[in-house]
């Protein structure tokens, strides 16, 4: 007969961890998307060489492991003489990290709108702002949305790393339980994995479906 020492309290502990995971994901996605749209549109609209420094900066966020970025930020804040909780550090780092990927998605989306369409809009008398909001935005959204959903899931999974600097999110809380109970790591990890899967799988399905539908209507 299957016997386990995992109690309802422990499950609640894991659920709380999952709550932190979702909260960090939400904050990182909101911050990262706002910054990413600004960076991405800048990169797409201005001539290439003027945004080269920005491109380089964003490339750094995409080429250095997130774990290292977290450790660096966490050790740099006391150097500045400031104080921040690990939670705040994680949110800021993840938001910047997200913005680097989001900028690439937005840039690709804006550039995917054909030049001719935009010229047509402008010659019909639309202002630059109207062109951006009425023409480019709806057309680019179809290109961007599936990747953006993918990014959200990616960030959700990447929050697993913030446990290293001391935020007790889902994976870290499973780690704590494993250390406490010693002899059933597999079962506890399976529960944590199942929670991740239940969050991620439906959304990834939704993303795949949107992508197919957008492609059909092209």
């Amino acid at each position: 007969m299957f016997h386990t020492a995992v109690s309802a309290n422990d499950l609640w502990f894991l659920a709380q961890g999952a709550g932190w995971t979702l909260l960090i994901t939400l904050i990182a996605m909101v911050g990262g998307t706002v910054l990413g749209v600004v960076f991405g549109v800048t990169r797409a609209v201005l001539p290439g060489w003027t945004t080269l420094p920005l491109g380089f900066l964003l490339d750094i966020f995409r080429s250095v492991p997130l774990l290292i970025q977290l450790i660096l930020a966490n050790s740099f804040i006391p150097i500045l003489g400031l104080r921040a909780t690990p939670f705040a550090v994680s949110c800021v780092v993840l938001a910047l990290y997200t913005s680097a990927y989001c900028a690439e998605i937005v840039r690709g989306g804006v550039l995917a709108v054909p030049q001719t369409t935009r010229r047509a809009a402008r010659s019909l008398g639309l202002t630059w702002w109207q062109d951006m909001t009425e023409i480019v935005y709806p057309m680019a959204l179809r290109v961007m949305l599936p990747s953006w959903i993918g990014l959200t899931l990616g960030v959700m999974k990447d929050t697993a790393l913030v446990g290293w600097i001391g935020v007790i999110e889902l994976l870290k809380s499973s780690q704590i339980l494993i250390t406490r109970m010693q002899n059933e790591p597999l079962f506890i990890l399976m529960i944590a994995g199942l929670i991740y899967f239940l969050i991620s799988f439906p959304i990834s399905r939704l993303g795949a479906r949107l992508e197919r539908r957008f492609r059909e209507n092209d």
């Binding site: 500045l80 990447d158 697993a160 059933e184 990834s204």
Partner: protein
């Protein structure tokens, strides 16, 4: 504001050690990519199989690999398999975890790539006397690799970034592990990890550049 004196010299003195670690990082990444590509090809073949079991293996592998964190997969290899009596050291656990992840993502990439190769290619090969295996390996696969080369490069960079997770299960020979060891000894966290970040950036750039050169050499007409 700056009540802190940076000590770069000891960190720079540790550079040879860290470069040694970078080599291990690259080794793990390459190894996990090579195995991941092999498994990924097999899985992508399973994806069009009519056999329920084979399709089930493909679907389970890909969905688990893509819908759970890489760190979770490494934990599974390290703690989870340990409970089943398969004890892996941190190096092997990291390798198994990343390879599992790579294979899952690559299988999906390959599935898309296989669809980009027209059916007529297989039929033409078969009518020229190739058997099914030859037609797949000699005609379809090379064309598929051309289509998926760029996503594969991205996956390689991902693999390099993922190797940094080894430190969480106690690996101390890769770049992050070596850096962490030095950090624990000196508590000059920022200096050491800043150098590690630069090294990771350089590795990623060199790999991207190298892949571009290989693509140019292999795929030019």
């Amino acid at each position: 504001m700056f009540n802190y004196t940076f000590h770069w010299r000891p960190a720079l003195n540790a550079l040879p050690q860290m470069l040694q670690g970078a080599l291990v990082t690259l080794q793990i990444a390459v190894l996990s990519m090579v195995i991941g590509i092999a498994v990924g090809v097999v899985l992508s073949v399973f994806s069009s199989s009519r056999n329920k079991l084979l399709y089930g293996i493909y679907a389970t592998w890909v969905e688990v690999a893509r819908n759970t964190p890489a760190l979770f997969q490494i934990y599974m290899a390290y703690f989870g398999l340990g409970q089943l009596g398969i004890r892996l050291d941190s190096f092997l656990a990291l390798l198994v975890g990343i390879t599992f992840n790579n294979a899952g993502y690559l299988a999906e990439t390959f599935r898309g790539g296989l669809r980009a190769v027209p059916q007529t290619q297989t039929r033409a090969a078969r009518s020229l006397g190739f058997n099914a295996y030859e037609a797949f390996t000699l005609i379809v696969l090379p064309q598929m690799f051309r289509a998926v080369f760029h996503p594969m490069t991205n996956q390689m960079v991902w693999a390099i970034l993922m190797t940094s997770l080894g430190v969480v299960v106690g690996l101390n020979s890769d770049l992050t592990g070596v850096t962490q060891d030095l950090n624990v000894r000196t508590f000059r966290t920022f200096e050491y990890f800043a150098i590690a970040a630069v090294l990771y950036y350089l590795i990623a750039k060199v790999v991207t550049l190298g892949a571009r050169l290989i693509a140019w050499r292999l795929f030019r007409y």
